[in-house]
Symmetry: none
Amino acid sequence: MKILLILLDGVGDRPSKVLNGLTPLQAARIPFLNGLAREGANGLMDPVSPGIPVGSDTGHLAILGYDPYKYYPGRGPFEALGAGIRLKPGDVAFRCNFATVSGDTKVVDRRAGRISSQEAAQLVEALSEVKEVDGVEVILKHTVEHRSVLVLRGEVSDKITDVDPHKDNLDFVWPKPTDETREAKWTAEALTKLLRRYREILEAHPVNIKRREAGLPTANMLLPRGAGMMPSLPPLSVRFGVKGAVIAGAALYKGVCSSAGMDVVEAPGATGTLNTDLNSKFKTAFETLRNYDFVFLHIKGTDTAAHDKDPLTKASFLEKIDAWFTKNFNPPGAEFIICVTGDHTTSSLSGEHRGDPVPVLIWGYGVRIDPVDRFNEVDAARGALGRIKGTDLMNILMDLANKTEKFGE
Amino acid sequence: MKILLILLDGVGDRPSKVLNGLTPLQAARIPFLNGLAREGANGLMDPVSPGIPVGSDTGHLAILGYDPYKYYPGRGPFEALGAGIRLKPGDVAFRCNFATVSGDTKVVDRRAGRISSQEAAQLVEALSEVKEVDGVEVILKHTVEHRSVLVLRGEVSDKITDVDPHKDNLDFVWPKPTDETREAKWTAEALTKLLRRYREILEAHPVNIKRREAGLPTANMLLPRGAGMMPSLPPLSVRFGVKGAVIAGAALYKGVCSSAGMDVVEAPGATGTLNTDLNSKFKTAFETLRNYDFVFLHIKGTDTAAHDKDPLTKASFLEKIDAWFTKNFNPPGAEFIICVTGDHTTSSLSGEHRGDPVPVLIWGYGVRIDPVDRFNEVDAARGALGRIKGTDLMNILMDLANKTEKFGE
């Protein structure tokens, strides 16, 4: 049995005036997806719980079957995954800001005058020369503007305080352990040593010398916060005995799936935006299905359009997806299942993630066929799946493939 | 108020080609059940959780309102219930194999050359002479071929190791306590003494003498495994103040219901197979309703047909059930409720229990009436019950009978 899960990021929506009171899914011409709905089982899915909006990180954890209330380690590790760092279980990750510090510890500007991405990248490059401190491996990666992520690898703990005071004109405090373990004490000490070393490098760096001469705030300190330890996610191969792969544009989705033991397959031209090469992603997905039991295909554009409060673009992006399948769909065998759903609702009204459920459709071998004949947030509610939770989805799909273990006899 | 719960074992299914893409429930002519659906409330039920296949044991625990994650004691006790032993709370039960042991402890063949049921039954009869060891009551019952169940009753514990090494050509280890309690130590000692006594009886038994002469592996040792302690299930009478009875062919269902404080009523000709005497079971059920508030009627044939991957027989068995009711149904009064559902899906495609939800219908006094007019896995999803869990069912039924207690004031 082969399973293709098409994850349309933020696909759920609310009705818009510009779409005559319809959601983008309701308004779009999507004959292929509607056909799958007609020949399959439909329902609604709450990523976590009704009315609770989720992030891309917690939403994806849930949909891959990992209860985010148990497995979500906070922002640090997922920011690192999003930056393309392949985390190992036990790694401790922090979100970091470049900041302007006056005297020893007074944070004058915790964004260093919103230093440019280009300058910050140069600083991170210099800091990255420090690859180890007190036997702890150090990985630092720039993301955007004043932001970066720091990863400590070794006998480390996430039980340490934030260095970032979260407000300007406060003193930062060097990292302190928040529990009694040896690892927390070591981590706090190693991080302190690292940040002092960083400060020396930053004060002397040409970028800062130039900024000082220009009267701009210097980025002379790195302020970590939100320490989180990457959890060990039981891999798909162990949970269900299947071989899984992910195809995605953005690093976060590759990272989460990779942490779940899936292989990352690159599709040329996958950008994680509205201008992604859909043809390349879909072709790669069907090619990947030859060698894998389960392929997770992530499409980001739906979410992007809704964040831009642009339901028309969201609808037309859905039509582009549908058109590819209408033209090219060719099931890779009789025992094949497609699931189409989203990780959360992104409202085109507010441009934010919201807690409305998303539609879910499952089509293929052994799937019950219900009377629903359109794929959208409203019609799906009358389907044979009822209203499920994100953490149910993988169990349902793997059960259709006879890959779940019986509880009892 | 009188309630009849008709439990069609493994009634849920997946669409079959031989039924033109329908499930057996969708394909069968079942005017009576469809009529109940039309005049009642319908929904889907997950015995435990979406996508999780359950056994008959865990499924029945859940549907009787006992969370199997809390109450399921493992295989031993339910094997004993299935063998017709009426367990008491605190009894410790084991699954056992007759095995061939060479020297003191080397297990040469842990199935004793797959000794015949007839020979094994003779051996168990001889061993059953031992009714007590160190003040612990002993019950041994043969099931099939080399298999039997052993029950220890008294101040015993299930915290002891398996004697069965689970593989041939390994040494077995005499039972050891796995916790520090006095009961575990005593149980291990008593079981060791019992198994040594068994071995003496087995070595000298005519069946083994004959096998030895014929060059066959002797069944000279009994290997227990999977110790489990029968939990104390709060009885229906205490939970809801009702008097319940069970009618079933197979011992397991009688055993589980009996453990829940229900009386076992025998229906002549109830076999727990496709050739059961349905007329006898249904007549007995309605007679039993005269003296009981709640009757649990278990019908096994639906499950049997699906295990045989025979959706046509499953559909025609459903038609037989329906035909009896069409001809004979006569509600025993105005205040009467019928519930029809299953304990799990058994897929006619794979012949296995699977995790798809089962339909549930409730008909009768005080029940809301929804637009669903057919009893099957797909139509049920549009009903007034939505998608419920197995552990919800008894509360819903007892609440219709005004037998639940208010939470709060």
